[in-house]
Symmetry: C2
C-alpha cells in the first residue's frame, strides 16, 4: 500500500494505475477506521474475481469545512498509525492523508458547492453548513482522484443522497455506491463517534436500532401512517434511554421528500443525543 499526503503524488499514482487499465475506486473517510469503512474495501474486492482489477484509493481527511463552530472538529478521534495498518490489511492500494493545508492552502475555500432541497431537513437543518462542507470537499476529492466508483456508507444516508444529487446535477463522471451500515453485535451502528460514549450511554445506544427495527415490523404489519410509526420510535427511545431526540423522520428514500403515508422506498432516519454525543442511524424499508 502506498500512502501520501500530497495531491500531486496521488495523481501520479492514480495515473499509473489507470494506464494499467485498472478501475479506480474512491472510499472517502474521516479516518478512525472501523468495520464500516473496511467493509467497503471488501465489497470492492468482492465485485470481481480479478483482485487486481481495482485500484482502491481511501482518503482520510477530517474536513474542517463540514463542522459547525460548536461541533466536535477538534476532538474528533484520530489515529493515523492504526488506520494505516487497518487500511493495508483490508487491501487499500493508496491511502490519501492530506493535511488541511494541502486541501485548503489559502484558508477556507472561496468556492462552495451547495445542494438545495435534499439538504433542507434531517441533519441539514440541525447542522447548518454541514452539507455545503461535505459537497465541497467531495467535489475536490472527485476532481483529485477522478474515480470510476465512489462508496459512501448508509449510516450517513442523507450524505449519500446529497452526493448522488450533486453528481447528477454537475455531470460528475463517477458512479456513487451505497455501502450497508455495519453494526456492533448489539445493533449499534459503527461510528467513529461511538468512542465518545460513556459506559451507560453505550449500554442504551442500541435502542436506536431496535426502535428502527420495531418500526420496520410495524410497517410490515400494515401500518402506513408516518406519524404513528414516528411516535412509536419516539416512545421507545424516550422510555428506554436518557437520549435527547433531535429528529425522527420517515422520508422518500430517493429524494428525502416529506410523506404522510408510507409507500414505495422510504428511509426511517433519526438523530439522538446521548450526553454531548450525537448519534445518527437509519434503515431503508420498501413497501
Amino acid at each position: 500500500m502506498k500512502i501520501t499526503e500530497y495531491i500531486n503524488t496521488l495523481r501520479e499514482n492514480v495515473a499509473v494505475a489507470r494506464e494499467q487499465g485498472k478501475t479506480v475506486v474512491l472510499i472517502p473517510t474521516m479516518g478512525f477506521l472501523h468495520s464500516g469503512h473496511l467493509s467497503m474495501v471488501e465489497a470492492v474486492r468482492k465485485q470481481d474475481e480479478d483482485y487486481e482489477k481495482f485500484y482502491i484509493v481511501m482518503s482520510i481527511f477530517v474536513n474542517p469545512l463540514q463542522f459547525g463552530p460548536n461541533e466536535d472538529y477538534d476532538r474528533y478521534p484520530r489515529n493515523l498509525v492504526r488506520d494505516t495498518r487497518l487500511a493495508q490489511e483490508a487491501g487499500v492500494d493508496l491511502l490519501f492523508t492530506p493535511s488541511v493545508q494541502e486541501m485548503y492552502p489559502d484558508g477556507p475555500s472561496l468556492t462552495r458547492v451547495n445542494v438545495a432541497k435534499v439538504t433542507d431537513d434531517l441533519c441539514g437543518s440541525h447542522r447548518p453548513g454541514h452539507f455545503e462542507g461535505v459537497a465541497t470537499v467531495v467535489s475536490k476529492l472527485f476532481n483529485i482522484v477522478l474515480p470510476d466508483f465512489a462508496y459512501f456508507g448508509q449510516k450517513d444516508y442523507q450524505q449519500y443522497v446529497v452526493i448522488k444529487q450533486m453528481v447528477k446535477d454537475l455531470n460528475i463522471p463517477v458512479q456513487v455506491l451505497l455501502a450497508p451500515t455495519v453494526r456492533e453485535e448489539d445493533g449499534l451502528a459503527m461510528s467513529s463517534r461511538n468512542a465518545y460514549l460513556r459506559p451507560e450511554e453505550r449500554r442504551q445506544a442500541p435502542v436506536l436500532y431496535r426502535s428502527l427495527q420495531e418500526a420496520a415490523q410495524l410497517i410490515a404489519g400494515g401500518e402506513r401512517d408516518v406519524n404513528v410509526v414516528r411516535e412509536k420510535i419516539r416512545q421507545r427511545i424516550t422510555n428506554e434511554t436518557n437520549g435527547k431526540i433531535e429528529y425522527i423522520e420517515i422520508r422518500r428514500a430517493d429524494n428525502l421528500a416529506k410523506i404522510e403515508r408510507i409507500s414505495g422506498a422510504v428511509v426511517i432516519a433519526l438523530a439522538v443525543y446521548f450526553g454531548s454525543t450525537r448519534l445518527i442511524d437509519n434503515i431503508l424499508v420498501e413497501v
Copy 2:
C-alpha cells in the same frame, strides 16, 4: 467537424480523441459567434506546429441559470446555422450544442457552485446570481468534456477570475487560459450583444475603449491615484456619449481586490448602458 447536442455522444467522441493521444481543449460560448470566439480556435491551432495535436470542443449554450429575471435571456441573439459554418471554418473539431433539457433535465439545478469574494463587486453586485450560474454551468461543462485546457475571453475578465478561483479551489484538472479581447476597427470590443445597439449607440460605444486607453496613458504618465483615473474615464464617457455608467473600477488583476494606489497588475473595468444594452469592457495594465 462533428456536431452534437447530446452529452453521451460528446463523451464518446472526446474519449476517442483522447485515446488517439490528443490534447482536449474546451471553448465555452453562448454562440452568435464573432471573431472574439473564433480567435480562440486560431490561438489553439497556433500553439503547436502539429495541427492534429489538439481536439477542439466548442460549446454553444445560452445558459438560463446565469441570466437574471429581468435580463436578456429570451432575446439573446442565436443563429446556429451561421455558428456551425463559422465554427467549422475556424477548425473546431466538435461543436456541442445542448438543449436546456439536456443540461438541466430536471429543471433548474439543485446543485450550485458559488465563488465568494471575487464575485462581490463589478458585474457580481449588479447581476445577482450571474456568477453562480456561470460557475455551475462551467463546472458541468468541465465534467462533461474533461478538457486539458479551456479558454475564456478577456472581455468577461471577472468571469475568467471566477473560473480560475473555482478551478483552484475545487482542484479541477484543467488549465484555464485567457484569450485577448478582439475589437472592431473602431475599438469596440466584440460582443454578441453589440447586435442590440441602435445606430447612434453603436457610433458612441467605441468611446468606452478610448476612455480605457486614455486611462492607461494617464497611468503610463505617472498617475497612481485610482480615483483620479476613474474620474477621467467617467468624464469622457459622460461628455461624449448618452451612456449610463453602471461601474468604473480599477482593481488588482489577480483577485479583483480594491486598491487606492495603482501598482502591479491591475484591471480597469467598466459597464455602461446604451439604452437597454449593457456593454462591458476592460484593459489590463502593468505598472
